[in-house]
Amino acid sequence: MKSVSGLFLGLAVLGGVMTAAPARAEDAPTSCEVPDYLLASESVLTKVEDAVKNRHALDILVVGSRSSTINPTADSSEAAAYPARLQAALKEKLPAVTVDLSVDIEAKKTAEEVTAALPKLLEGKKPTLVIWQTGTVDAVRSVDPDDFRTAVDEGVVALQEAGADVILVNPQYSPRTETMISVPPYLDNMRVVAQQHDVPLFDRFAIMRHWAESGEFDLFSAFHGVELAKRVHNCLGVALSQFVLEAAHLTPAQQN
């Protein structure tokens, strides 16, 4: 590795760009601020709306891959991952409603594999809302984007037929792997499926990119402990809770 670094270093000198910026502080306060348009959706979560207005329990199932957890081997960090943060935020915002949330991690499974596993997953469950995070595994393995779209399409239909509202969550913004993983085709295809089935799409990619650009989080540099992951997941959970309430037309005046 030494020689490679040397090569790049030489290039840096050549370009006259040795202006190392100091790394941003790790423990800057976070506001989780997200622009409104990233939390707006034309599609409506009618089942969630009904459940909350009729004071039924809100039963949420999160289906996702590794990026829906922080560290699957350590139990303590599970409470810090965005699904748990979402549940906490919803409980706080909907004190009159019971919010149940379960997480199903399908690590290293493509959308096609998850779609095939859905019937089994839904067995004996009747979730009000299924939050399906997908796309990353497919992007990493560069699955044919058309096949990916078909799989997500079928999965969404299966979930809707099972009587659940659906939210799609797209891949994370990961600047450091941008030259290695081509994410845009998967983002585009998820948007298309969301539009076709009138399903809200939680644009995790755009939101995280916004945070990176506004300086809220430094997602670029190589070394970070688990702390950064926890803070990002916390903000994602909060943003997702706002997104759910928006899409279910549960404005603060309507809740109590």
Binding site: T136, V140, Q172, T177, E178, T179, M180, S182, A222
Partner: protein
């Protein structure tokens, strides 16, 4: 560029012997190379200058079209002067050069990704690190890369180019028999590709990012233009109706693209239109993209004549030089994008550093192009014996 081709083809056909360089081809290919470099860096201020933000098509279309044009121009002449076998041999030599360039870039990519794999520890992205899995079986991965089936991100253009060039002798042969028949075959292949989802498979999954069965249309169209097609189209291209249709379509594409970058505006888009239009496939060269390129080319050529004075200005020199050494500059651009990405990551730089890296990259590309030209001219002066009848693509058409 179609119309540009129209005006190019006139002298090219009338005075086929030596002919002066078509500087507009060099200029726009140079521009395409700069834009490809900027697009390969993470998004930054300069990214807003690249054409993909203002319409459906991007620099890749320009690059492939001009490559088809210049390749047909250069090797078409070789085929006429020296025959099919010799021209084919020359094309194959060029294919070999491009292949070697691709393998060279792959090596650099391996170095970069191995570095990232050993140095990147961020629990937030443990899933994305799955991309490193292929390092666990270098035996398979490297062989697949040599077979052009395993291609890292941003390294898809050269394999496409290799395949297109491999078929160039056949394309040229057909065009010389009947140009319109060749173009018709190309359109039919494109249609079949869309109908039956033809593509080449990739490793470990999926398909070629630039489907050669679809993208050949642009390449063959470029070749067709170079072989006199453009000249025959010149009346259609000169008509004001064409111009207005093109401008209307470009404006439409601009508006649609605007809604991608400002989701606040997306409510203005009719749903029906969206459902019909999306996704706009880059892999299969969507008709919308192809049409956008044609419109862009027609308008460009109309307002930039062959003897446009700024073409001779020293300010345009860097662009033109880059366009004249396209293969070398393309590879350098991909390498610089890797390197720039690396610097940004290591120095956790902000927008300022980003800007500096983009500009330095363009300066390095221009200086390198200047250096290549200098080499070429010195070599020419010292030994005119190297000059063959057809010359290679670099000499005649600007690095096909």
């Amino acid at each position: 560029m179609a119309r540009e081709a129209a005006q190019v083809a006139a002298p090219a056909v009338a005075v086929p012997a030596a002919g002066e360089r078509e500087l507009r081809l060099d200029l726009f290919r140079g521009l395409a190379l700069w834009l490809i470099f900027i697009d390969h860096l993470p998004a930054n201020l300069l990214t807003w200058l690249t054409i993909r933000n203002y319409g459906f098509s991007d620099a890749t279309e320009i690059f492939i079209f001009i490559s088809g044009y210049t390749a047909a121009f250069v090797y078409g002449r070789a085929m006429r002067d020296a025959g099919f076998v010799v021209a084919t041999a020359r094309v194959l030599r060029r294919v070999w050069q491009i292949y070697v360039a691709h393998v060279f870039l792959f090596t650099i990519f391996l170095a970069e990704i191995s570095y990232v794999a050993t140095s990147f520890e961020n629990p937030l992205y443990s899933e994305e690190m799955g991309i490193m899995d292929f390092l666990k079986q270098p035996d398979v991965t490297i062989v697949q890369a040599l077979l052009l089936r395993f291609r890292p991100v941003n390294m898809d253009v050269l394999p496409l180019y290799i395949v297109l060039m491999l078929f160039l002798p056949v394309i040229l042969w057909l065009i010389r028999r009947s140009a319109d028949f060749a173009l018709a075959l190309s359109v039919i292949l494109y249609a079949i590709t869309w109908e039956f989802d033809l593509n080449l498979s990739a490793y470990p999954n999926g398909v070629w990012v630039f489907n050669p069965f679809a993208w050949q249309l642009l390449f063959v169209f470029g070749a067709w233009c170079a072989q006199g097609g453009a000249q025959r189209m010149s009346r259609i291209l000169a008509s004001p109706i064409t111009l207005w249709i093109c401008i209307a379509y470009l404006l439409f594409a601009f508006f649609v693209t605007l809604t991608w970058y400002m989701p606040q505006l997306s409510y203005l888009m009719p749903r029906r239109l969206e459902q019909w239009m999306y996704p706009i496939s880059k892999t299969d060269l969507d008709v919308l993209r192809f049409a956008h390129f044609l419109a862009l080319a027609a308008v460009t050529v109309r307002f930039i004549p062959k003897n446009w004075p700024p073409l001779r200005s020293p300010w345009m020199r860097p662009l033109i030089l880059c366009g004249q050494h396209s293969l070398e500059i393309f590879c350098l651009g991909v390498f610089l994008a890797f390197a720039g990405h690396f610097l940004l990551a290591e120095l956790s730089g902000g927008a300022g550093l980003h800007f500096v890296i983009s500009i330095s990259g363009i300066l390095i590309m221009s200086s390198a192009a200047w250096l290549f030209s200098w080499y070429k001219h010195s070599a020419d002066k010292s030994g005119s014996r190297t000059k063959g009848t057809g010359g290679n693509a670099d000499l005649a058409g600007g690095g096909a």
